[in-house]
Amino acid sequence: MSLTWRRLRPVVLPLVGLLVAIVFLAPYFVMLLDSLRPGSEALASPPTFLPQNWQLDAYGEILGDSRFRNWLKTSLLVSLASTVIVILVAIPAAYFTARFKFPGRTAFLFLVLVTQMFAPTSLVVGIYREFFELSMVNTYGALILTNAAFNLAFAVWIMHGFFAALPKELEEASELDGNGRVGTMLRIMLPLTLPGVVTATIFTFIAVWNEYVVALTLMQDDDKKPLTVGISSYVTGYDQNWDQLFAASIVAIVPVVILFAVIEKHLVGGLTAGSVK
């Protein structure tokens, strides 16, 4: 490596980094600014970069809007319930497949690919007909079950890597100490695989939180829509409340960004153990 590069490196890399950050953040910065100006200003022509009248009204309006509170409630309920189901099912499944190698990793990867290939979008018509026949259209249960099923395989996949990495002797020692299978799992294995469980939990939660097409199709009752579907009604042909749309969007993404930032360090580890080793 040349001498000039060694000297330039501490300056050039952070500058490139800044540029990368700006490219990725710029659209969402526009969103933040548009949530802080009156909706009519978003329709100014030509538009201005900065709001002419700074205001927080949109946030007050959406929080006072019972529709918005219902959408938020649906999003929270469906995301939490689906995540709990996925984790409760995926932990034993991942443990089992990591220890008793009967289907093997290849079958596993294949299962993930298949559930991803039949992604909700290709199946949404079939799913709608199924729940229609069960009279479950417009029920939280339908949305929760669908989301849980589509995220299960990926969660198992990520956790599988963590369980497989644990030495068998650890379990044997624990069982000699008088811990049963369940005790070994809860007291010894689970704490050691916690980063994997955390990664899988957050992945699932975010995927369900952001899901759109199944909710769009199944939840036609305005009160039961999740945020992703509901917020569209702030901007239609008749209503142009861009400030409210974007204020609601900020409320929908900021918690997720924070969640992501918190686990960012584990994220790379989780993906390494689960998918690419």
Partner: protein, 280 residues
């Protein structure tokens, strides 16, 4: 676990195949069997050629650009530098935002009259007059592809970053001691070891992008007909939106969708394997 996957993946898939052979009224009631009529209807649909071409352009462009950008980005983010944490967080944002929120945001950013993109590019003197990004036929697809790339890069870069992390440092040291320059070391050592991560991210990307619905659905809202639809939005329109609403035909299109992505993934894996056996 299997019951859940069966109930929500396998059963609707069977239901889809069953629906594809049925004849349905406009309200969705089954009137009887249609045999293979729905399939021939889809194959004879006047928009089919456009839709297939759009799908091919959409998937190959988004996946190729995403992988190339992510390779560079992952390499960059794996280096130590001041502020790296912040940059990594910034890259996560488009992943954390839902596709439909990002798509809604871009309908405004791209807007001909009110969009900030035109103002920005005109101030920089890149363009002289505003462009109708989502209305002008030659710009619609590139504009949608740009959004597709923005939201696909974070996940892909992180998978590749994980792949880079899994390569032990000794390998790079050994290459350096053997006298390999940076480019040579990357091509001969890093890149081959990154293959598993690259493979995983390419296949998952192909599937996600192929199945991607909200971006095209939202950004293409204004345009009538099927000019910019991919097979996924085409299928959805047939079931829930178009004038010639037809559940059976939509189901047939859905079956074609699954087959198409299956063929694409198998072809891709074949292609990659074929290269692996190549002695060079």
């Amino acid at each position: 676990m299997l019951a859940l996957i069966f109930g929500v993946v396998i059963y609707p898939a069977i239901e889809l195949v069953r629906a594809s052979t049925g004849e349905y009224s406009i309200t969705g009631l089954r009137r009887g069997s249609a045999g293979t009529e729905n399939y021939t209807d889809v194959l004879q649909h006047p928009a089919l050629g456009t839709v297939l071409l759009n799908t091919l352009i959409w998937v190959s462009a988004v996946v190729a650009i995403t992988i190339l950008l992510s390779l560079g980005l992952a390499q960059f983010l794996s280096k130590e530098f001041f502020g790296r944490r912040m940059v990594r967080w910034a890259v996560l944002v488009p992943w954390a935002a839902s596709l439909v929120i990002t798509a809604r945001l871009f309908t405004l950013i791209y807007d001909y009259y009110h969009g900030i993109l035109n103002v920005f590019l005109m101030k920089l003197h890149v363009i002289d007059e505003p462009i109708d990004w989502l209305g002008d036929d030659s710009w619609t697809m590139p504009s949608m592809i740009a959004v597709g790339v923005l939201v696909s890069v974070p996940f892909t870069a992180y998978v590749l970053l994980a792949g880079l992390n899994a390569i032990p440092d000794e390998v790079h040291e050994a290459a350096r001691i053997d006298g390999a320059g940076p480019w040579q070391a990357y091509r001969r050592v890093t890149f081959p070891l990154l293959r598993p991560a690259l493979l995983v991210s390419a296949v998952l990307n192909m599937i996600y992008v192929f199945n991607s619905f909200p971006i095209i659905w939202t950004l293409n809202d204004r345009n009538p007909g099927y000019t910019h639809d991919t097979t996924i939005t085409f299928m959805y329109k047939l079931a829930f939106k178009s004038a010639d609403r037809d559940v059976g035909m939509s189901a047939a299109a859905g079956v074609f969708n699954v087959l198409l992505i299956l063929v694409a993934v198998v072809l891709y894996l074949r292609l990659v394997k074929w290269r692996e056996e190549d002695p060079t």
